[in-house]
């Protein structure tokens, strides 16, 4: 995974728990990288280890951490470096969903070593859609839930996310059903 993911984990931990806890998590994970480069690819293992160590140190289930991380990713990390890209990707939640395939094409142009997940939407209506998530990385389902909720917050549109089909449960891929209200609603 690109360094920006690990950086995002670092940012999240430091923001809520302080730098000392982050150093503790890094030490527990056995990660000796001083600074993650956003545009450098790092082994996926590092991210998994950091999440596992974080779970242990913060005494939280990994799923909870991943979900929080999804939200943090959308609301803080992406905003900091890629905010314009994010904002350019759509003026509203439905527009963003519509642009999602192009968005990932653009991202893969910038980060050529990226093995990005693939997203597809189906049954799109004004208020809902089905999001199909294809990834070769296991266990990141809660992260996607967090991402969706983060997007809802970003566009100030409350989103309800439901996992319809799970790859972990034997399905071909994860399928989420996202339902949102009109923009500006709490």
């Amino acid at each position: 995974m690109y360094g920006m993911v690990n950086k995002a984990v670092e940012d999240m931990v430091c923001m809520h728990h302080g730098e000392a806890v982050w150093e503790q998590i890094k030490a527990k994970a056995g990660v000796e990288v001083e600074v993650f480069f956003g545009n450098e690819a790092y082994p996926d293992e590092i991210t998994y280890k950091l999440v596992a160590a974080g779970s242990e140190v913060l005494n939280l289930p990994p799923e909870e951490i991943l979900e929080a991380f999804g939200e943090h990713w959308v609301l803080r990390t992406a905003q900091q470096g890629y905010g314009s890209l994010m904002r350019a990707a759509g003026r509203s939640l439905p527009e963003f969903f519509a642009n999602l395939p192009n968005f990932h094409t653009r991202v893969s142009m910038i980060f050529p070593k990226l093995q990005p997940p693939r997203f597809k939407t189906s049954e799109v209506t004004d208020r809902s859609l089905k999001l199909h998530y294809f990834s070769h990385r296991p266990g990141l389902t809660p992260f996607v839930v967090g991402l969706l909720q983060g997007l809802g917050k970003m566009f100030k549109t409350p989103v309800k996310v439901q996992l319809l089909e799970s790859k972990a449960q034997g399905a071909d891929h994860d399928v989420f059903y996202a339902e949102w209200g009109p923009p500006g609603m709490p």
């Binding site: 545009n39 450098e40 904002r87 350019a88 003026r91 142009m109």
Partner: protein, 714 residues
């Protein structure tokens, strides 16, 4: 750019809406450079770029530089144009191309941004750009690179900080190493003993000073607790307990303790121990610095002994008490078992005093010492006497010149020392002390005891002076009292006959017509009393003269037998009047002696008249005279009432008359003092042997020189 294949052109005809979608930022101008068509995205960023507006009213050609004209633009179709929107400053990059018919110039391009944020700031979105247009993606790439640069800067800052920290840490380390090296060197080389233990007190390191002091090497000490190795019988258990307690609490301590070296030698240490903590505050080690204070302690001990001895002597009232106090003080201070004092008496050192603590039982040794007396050079006391200085015996039981060695061995006494005592530079005696241990000689201690010897000498001298002073005072007091008593007595003695004379004379004067026989009797009394008064005055003058040494003795050759005979004749009438018998045994072959006839007469007549006077009627008086043992022996014996034993020593004092109920006082009470004064003038002696109701016997021994032996008496 390669020229397009003209043959392909007809197939590329685009519908206007298709054109607008793929070139959303295009503009077209006519030959007057008036805008004739603009893309919808261009109008979003440049709202005034609408058909009919002049190109120069909306844009400024930034590059290339030149006079903008339709022709100039047409001529520069191969140039990259940069147009700046006058109102917003947004720049467009692209190219002009002349459309077929040469009536229209088409500008194809898109906005040029250097910051990705500008897209949104200008109110643009992805959908405003043609999908083929890479501007947005390039901006994003640029942004990614910029963020990577940010990461790199962060890393650089972190590394720089780390390097600074590392350098500082390095410097600290170097300083610490230098300091540690220096300290290690000091610890290793210092004269003090240094011990490093682990948290449990087991030795990890000792320095050379430690080995010098204790004789234990580092290898011998490793893993052992120093206390367990160095403690010995004399080590104070209370100090050991305090140290253990402090160590258990992980605290340092500062103590003075008696330790023992490998060879058994004891020494005093001042130990300063401190715990060493790790970063978590746990005790990892203890470091102890140990200073040998044996010499200091010894000096303190010597001073303490001298001080205590001074005090003991000051407080003592009597000589024996003072000496005993001194022995006790020294024994207690040194922790030795017994001390004895020997005094030089009649050419031998004889046992004088002893002290030992109640818990020490050495009766055999004390009794043996009491029975001993030492000649000069013999035994420890005799040796000290002969050498006139202190002596030390490490072990009396192996000393050839220690006669009490067998009993010392039985009582477990080994080490000994002693010192002489001089009074005003004259040898007085010896003090000696014994320990149950074999004691190595301590020269400093012996020197200190020379001082103690002097202190004792001064004490004895003071005691003697005080005794002499006391005696002188007592003598003076006695003399004074005697003088007062004498004056009172003499007044009385003189007044008695005077009162009698005056009384009788008054009676005679007031009765001029009294009977002649009565007058005769009264006048006789007056005469007797005046004679007595006269004799009293004579005797007083005599005695006074004798006592003061003013009496002149006219020594000449005298016949003592003749003098005695004369006296017998003189007392004869009185003795006869009392029907007394006089027996005289006067040696017939006496030579003439050198002496004063009148004084010798006084001796005889006083003794004889006393005997007659105090012996009742019918008694016997015996007088004997011999020359024996180079002296004239006079014995006057009577069968009188005798003198009570408690008064015998007082009869030679002035006016002392033995009180007897049945015998009235008679005489002046000056006779015997006069006899004694004369006898003492001739260096003779007078004694009395008397029993009440049996009589008295006076012995006079006069070492008179026969006249023939002395030219002056010839």
């Amino acid at each position: 750019m390669n020229p397009a294949d003209p043959s392909a052109a007809p197939h590329l005809g685009l519908m206007p809406e298709q054109f607008a979608e793929v070139f959303p930022f295009h503009l077209a101008v006519d030959r007057n450079l008036t805008l004739v068509q603009t893309g919808q995205s261009l109008r979003r960023v440049c709202p005034d770029a609408v058909p009919g507006a002049g190109l120069d009213q909306v844009f400024r050609v930034v590059r290339p530089e030149g006079e903008v004209s339709y022709k100039w633009l047409a001529d520069n179709q191969r140039e990259l144009f940069l147009l700046a929107h006058l109102a917003s400053g947004v720049q467009l990059r692209g190219q002009f191309m002349l459309l077929p018919g040469e009536q229209t110039l088409l500008f194809l391009g898109s906005p040029w941004f250097t910051e990705s944020t500008e897209i949104a700031e200008r109110g643009l979105g992805f959908e405003d750009f043609a999908i083929h247009d890479p501007v947005v993606d390039l901006l994003q790439l640029f942004q990614a690179q910029k963020m990577a640069l940010g990461d790199a800067k962060k890393l650089l800052a972190k590394l720089t900080a780390q390097r600074t920290e590392l350098r500082a840490a390095n410097e600290r380390l170097h300083r610490q190493e230098a300091e540690t090296h220096k300290l290690a060197l000091i610890a290793a080389r210092t004269d003090n003993a240094v011990v490093l233990t682990d948290a449990e007190g087991k030795t990890e390191w000792v320095n050379e000073g430690f080995t010098r002091l204790t004789s234990y090497t580092l290898e011998e000490m490793l893993g052992k607790k120093p206390g367990a190795v160095l403690r010995g019988p004399g080590t104070d258990p209370e100090t050991v307990r305090r140290i253990s307690e402090r160590l258990r609490q992980g605290k340092g301590f500062s103590e003075e303790i008696l330790n023992y070296a490998k060879d058994g030698r004891s020494y005093w240490l001042a130990v300063e121990a401190q715990p060493i903590h790790d970063e978590q505050g746990r005790v990892t080690n203890f470091m102890a610095i140990e200073l040998d204070i044996t010499a200091r302690r010894a000096a303190q001990q010597r001073l303490a002994i001298q001080f205590d001895v001074s005090r003991a002597l000051l407080e003592a009232e009597f000589q024996a008490e003072g000496i005993r106090s001194v022995i006790e003080t020294i024994c207690v201070n040194l922790g030795w078992q017994i001390g004895q004092a020997w005094r030089l008496t009649e050419g031998r050192l004889r046992f004088f005093e002893v002290w030992h603590p109640p818990a020490v039982h050495v009766p055999l040794f004390v009794n043996a010492s009491r029975a001993f007396e030492f000649a000069e050079g013999v035994g420890l006391p005799g040796r000290i006497w002969a050498d006139a200085r202190p002596a030390w015996l490490s072990d009396v039981t192996t000393d050839a010149n220690f006669p009490r060695s067998a009993v010392a061995l039985r009582e477990g006494l080994r080490g000994a020392f002693g010192f002489p005592v001089f009074v005003h530079g004259v040898f007085w005696g010896v003090m000696e002390f014994f320990s149950r241990k074999i004691e190595q000689p301590d020269e400093m201690l012996l020197k200190a005891f020379t001082v103690v010897g002097n202190q004792i000498g001064q004490f004895i001298a003071r005691q003697k002076a005080e005794a002499a002073l006391r005696l002188a005072k007592e003598t003076a007091d006695t003399a004074n009292k005697a003088k007062t008593e004498f004056l009172a007595t003499i007044s009385h003695e003189l007044r008695t006959p005077l009162t009698s004379i005056r009384g009788f004379l008054q009676t005679l004067l007031s009765n001029l017509d009294m009977q002649p026989s009565t007058r005769q009797e009264f006048l006789g009394v007056v005469h007797d009393q005046s004679l007595r008064l006269s004799r009293l005055v004579d005797d007083l003058l005599d005695l006074s003269s004798l006592e003061s040494g003013r009496t002149k003795f006219n020594d000449e050759s005298v016949d003592v037998r003749q003098i005695a005979q004369t006296c017998l004749t003189e007392i004869g009438p009185l003795a006869r009047s009392k029907s007394q018998r006089i027996e005289a045994a006067l040696s017939g072959d006496l030579p003439n002696f050198c002496g004063d006839a009148i004084r010798l007469h006084s001796v005889f007549i006083n003794l004889m008249s006393n005997a007659v006077k105090f012996t009742p009627a019918g008694g016997t008086i015996r007088v004997a005279l011999h020359f024996r043992d180079d002296a004239l022996q006079i014995v006057v014996e009577d069968t009188g009432p005798g003198i009570p034993i408690d008064q015998q020593s007082m009869i030679f004092e002035k006016f002392h008359r033995v009180y007897r109920r049945e015998v009235p006082a008679a005489g002046t009470g000056l006779g015997l003092p006069i006899v004694k004064a004369i006898v003492e003038h001739y260096r003779g002696s007078i004694k009395v042997d008397s029993q009440v109701n049996r009589g008295s016997r006076f012995f006079v021994s006069l070492p008179l020189i026969p006249a023939q032996n002395l030219a002056a008496c010839e």
